[in-house]
Symmetry: C2
Subunit: 146 residues, 2 copies
Amino acid sequence: MPSESQLGGEFTLAIFKLHGQLLAAGEKLAEPAGITVAWWQVLGAVLRQPLTASGIARQMGITRQAVQRIANRLIAEGLLQASPNPAHKRSPLLAPTTDGRLAIERIAPGQAAFSTRLVESFGRAEFEALISELERMSITVDAVGP
Amino acid sequence: MPSESQLGGEFTLAIFKLHGQLLAAGEKLAEPAGITVAWWQVLGAVLRQPLTASGIARQMGITRQAVQRIANRLIAEGLLQASPNPAHKRSPLLAPTTDGRLAIERIAPGQAAFSTRLVESFGRAEFEALISELERMSITVDAVGP
DNA sequence: ACCAAAATGACAATACGTTGTCAACTGGGA
DNA sequence: TCCCAGTTGACAACGTATTGTCATTTTGGT
């Protein structure tokens, strides 16, 4: 019978490994569109409605500085545009440009195809159950975490 | 009914979130010992037997350059020592120093306690099942990945 | 209305990972 | 024996994320 400590280690290892695999898969999907996974995530966050840099950061769960650097770069590349924000003079609302939307649209089919292969290979019911368990685990980690 | 594309996105999000949570938890555990999670991983890899930097990298699944940079730092900090490698003149065997082992030992109790809380809160049987499913998912991603 | 606290963008330093390149070393086949 | 391919460490450039600090802007309580 494995110790709790061992189980914790195995779980962490499994999550780290999957994180690496999904990141690598994302890079392969995003690269043909000339963007990175991080750019993809930032553009994806403002597809439905404009957000400020800080707002994107909150939604993504990373620091606002990290988002800000990528947003600045995306604006320089012409994939993101800043519009004046009535609610905050220093914090413009960010939205994708036409080029930005095109980049995301170029990725979408590959992402959908990959997801479909993944769900069908793993089993749809099991896939949905796994997501549920991961979300429950996330809550548990927050609850007991050091 | 969610589309496969949505499910893929939810799954990726769940993994990324847990990765971030576990990384943060690891940092909290390792910090009192004066080391980082990356240092912990490298030291942990040579606890049982000395390895070369490239060997550690293979075991950890990251590039040898990343390990090399951390190993050089650990040697400078006196936590890791290099012994001549009969099998390769340029690639010394790396092993923890006494200080290195002490650092790991200072982390172990906290890690064990955190793991125990996690396993007991989540449910031991469900925890073990989740690890199994994650490993199966890892294999599936490798199989269908882009 | 005013003032302190919170939010925000800019900037710097740092950690960690990647790819690419180069020279030195190792090992195996002609 | 010799040479070539693979391994390895060093170094550089880059992408991403963090923390910390600063000045500016917004907001909420008195």
